[in-house]
């Protein structure tokens, strides 16, 4: 009973930061997107900024680009991470060293990952040099443009470099806490490796994969600096457009930038809630 009385004090500070600070920031942004911006004399409630954003074909192209990059990254990183976790849980010569190397990207800042990937895969990068040395390429232009490309390959590669170990380590932690007994039972009952994976292991790790893939999708969908550095200027991803608009010296452009931001946030929440529902349903 005493503990119940203490709960508000235990939860209060953390909730305060999230609700007041984070929530407050969102409310200010929402207000501006709806035309409430007293600093430049705007006080009238309006949907015109949303209307102009949502009917802009460039906005829709950016939304699609942002969605595509986040989706491809999420699917690829989840599948690769599960595969590698299944290899890394085995014991073999060098397994500890391999696991340590697998962890390295985890603490590396995204900007450093981007920095390394740029120097590696531009048309004059290390891989292109190697291709020239073995005689596959003659000039830098023979190497495909992987940075500043329409498909966002450099962006996706950078995210994969960072997120595969994240999902992989969570899957490994789940496998460790579950232990081997279920698999051993299944084996005793005559299940082959394939059946053990799909009927025993996958259901055990799915909740973890689902939850980390939500984190990865949310992160890549809203990331600003990686697509700014490695992507095309046009179309740019939504976070890039939103922040560019926010930083514009012309304050009259700000309500529209905030409308882009709010749409970005709403789409992110809707997609993630729908994904979570669907996946929970599918797992059951």
């Amino acid at each position: 009973m005493k503990d119940i009385l203490r709960l508000p004090f235990m939860l209060g500070p953390a909730l305060g930061i999230v609700v007041l600070l984070f929530g407050g920031g969102l409310v200010v942004g929402l207000g501006q997107s709806l035309g409430y911006f007293p600093a430049i004399g705007l006080r009238d409630f309006t949907f015109e900024h949303y209307a102009s954003v949502l009917t802009d074909s460039n906005f829709l192209r950016s939304l699609w680009l942002t969605f595509r990059i986040a989706t491809v990254t999420t699917i690829l990183s989840s599948v690769i991470a599960v595969g590698l976790a299944l290899v890394l849980r085995q014991k073999f010569a060098g397994s500890r060293l391999s696991s340590f190397i697998f962890q390295i990207p985890l603490p590396v800042p995204h900007l450093v990952a981007a920095s390394g990937i740029i120097l590696l895969i531009t048309q004059s990068g290390l891989i292109a040099r190697f291709g020239t040395a073995v005689g596959i390429l003659d000039t830098p232009a023979d190497f495909p443009a992987l940075v500043f490309d329409r498909a966002g390959i450099a962006i996706i590669l950078t995210f994969l470099w960072k997120e595969v170990p994240f999902i992989g380590l969570v899957v490994l932690a789940i496998l460790q806490s579950v232990g081997p007994q279920f698999e051993e039972q299944a084996r005793t009952l005559g299940a082959n490796a394939r059946q053990r994976f799909f009927s025993v292991l996958l259901p055990l790790i799915m909740p973890g994969v689902l939850s980390t893939s939500i984190i990865v999708f949310a992160f890549t969908f809203a990331n600003y600096e990686i697509p700014l550095l490695l992507g095309t200027r046009f179309p740019a991803t939504l976070p890039v457009i939103a922040f560019r608009g926010y930083q514009d010296p012309d304050l009259a452009l700000r309500p529209e930038a905030m409308a882009v931001s709010i749409v970005l946030a709403v789409v992110a929440v809707l997609l993630l809630v729908a994904y979570r529902r669907l996946a929970r349903y599918a797992v059951k």
Binding site: I4, M10, L11, P13, A14, I17, V18, L21, G24, G25, L26, V27, V28, L30, G83, L84, L88, Q90, R96, S98, S99, I101, Q103, P107, P109, H110, L111, V112, A113, A114, S115, L119, A128, R129, F130, T132, P165, V170, V171, A173, I174, Q176, S177, P180, G208, S211, T212, I214, I215, F221, Y224, E225, L229, F243, Y246, S261, L264, A265, A268, L272
Partner: protein
């Protein structure tokens, strides 16, 4: 023990849980493993290897495989005051340490409440605390920027730390709530019934039980702050310079060597943090497992 364990092979060995489960390596199995491990080493190692070479390159024209002239010009630049690298390193460190302390102070009680208690509205509280993962922090930061201008918190260490705390809280709470849930309250109750006071219970029972998980949660918090770019740029107003802000201009091409050298300064403390905590990463599986409970 597990694949997460990175102790040297001569350290005490624990029973191998998965030894009997994974199939005895068939020829295909062994080759799959070799290909997978080689891919990991190459994919993880190449970008870092490239940065290392570039940081010591003086002249490296296409298509030379290695620099034609080596030198430490980039490192001399990094060491100079004009590069602001040391200022950035110092600010980044202060900031990440402050954010970690703040996350522990506000996050530890909240994690305990969520991990060990059931109460009405618990799922609402969980959802609220997880919001900064789902709703882009960038969007809220723009609004906070305008609030902070009025409160004179922009361009200050504390203001930037408060904003870094927002994305850190949900991750910290995910990890620590899982650790608290896993460990339960039975031991504490026993200690209490044996006459230990609250401070003794925390110091001798709770803290040792959660220390591995707390280290993992603190590492994540430190690294979240360490890697922040756009929130620092906005709230710090460009005058509060951290390492990502020092690095960023060089990434758009000015000098590959300088970009590489600053990148390595930026990544070194992070790798040290990983080496210090990687044993704990494998020790308490409920900590990393916490990310699987969103």
């Amino acid at each position: 023990m597990t694949a997460l364990d990175t102790r040297p092979p001569d350290a005490e060995t624990q029973p191998e849980v998965f030894e009997d489960v994974t199939d005895p390596p068939s020829l295909i199995g062994r080759w799959t493993r070799r290909v997978a491990i080689t891919s990991i080493v190459v994919f993880v190692g190449l970008p870092i290897f490239t940065l290392l070479i570039w940081s010591f390159a003086f002249r490296w024209n296409f298509p030379d495989l290695l620099p034609s002239e080596w030198g430490n010009r980039a490192w001399a630049y990094v060491a100079s005051d004009s590069s602001r690298t040391f200022e950035g390193l110092w600010n980044s460190t202060k900031l990440a340490v402050l954010v970690t302390i703040m996350a522990i102070v506000v996050g530890l009680p909240a994690s305990r409440a969520l991990g060990q208690h059931d109460f009405r509205g618990k799922s609402t509280v969980e959802w609220l605390l997880m919001m900064p993962i789902i709703v882009p922090t960038l969007v809220a930061t723009m609004g906070i920027h305008q609030i902070f201008i009025r409160m004179r918190l922009t361009e200050t260490l504390f203001g930037v730390a408060l904003v870094h705390l927002i994305p850190a809280i949900p991750y910290f709470v995910l990890v620590m709530a899982s650790v608290f849930a896993n460990y339960g309250t039975a031991l504490e109750e026993t200690a209490q019934s044996l006459g230990a006071n609250k401070i003794q219970v925390f110091r001798y029972v709770t803290l040792p039980a959660i220390s591995s998980g707390l280290l993992v949660a603190s590492m994540f918090t430190f690294l979240i702050s360490w890697g922040q770019y756009v929130t620092t740029l906005l709230i710090g107003g460009g005058t509060f310079v951290t390492l990502p802000l020092v690095l960023f201009p060089f990434l758009s091409g000015a000098s590959h060597s300088n970009a590489a050298a600053i990148s390595l300064v930026f990544v070194a403390p992070a790798i040290i943090v990983l080496i210090l905590t990687s044993r704990q990463l494998g020790r308490d599986s409920s900590a990393m497992g916490g990310f699987g409970k969103l």
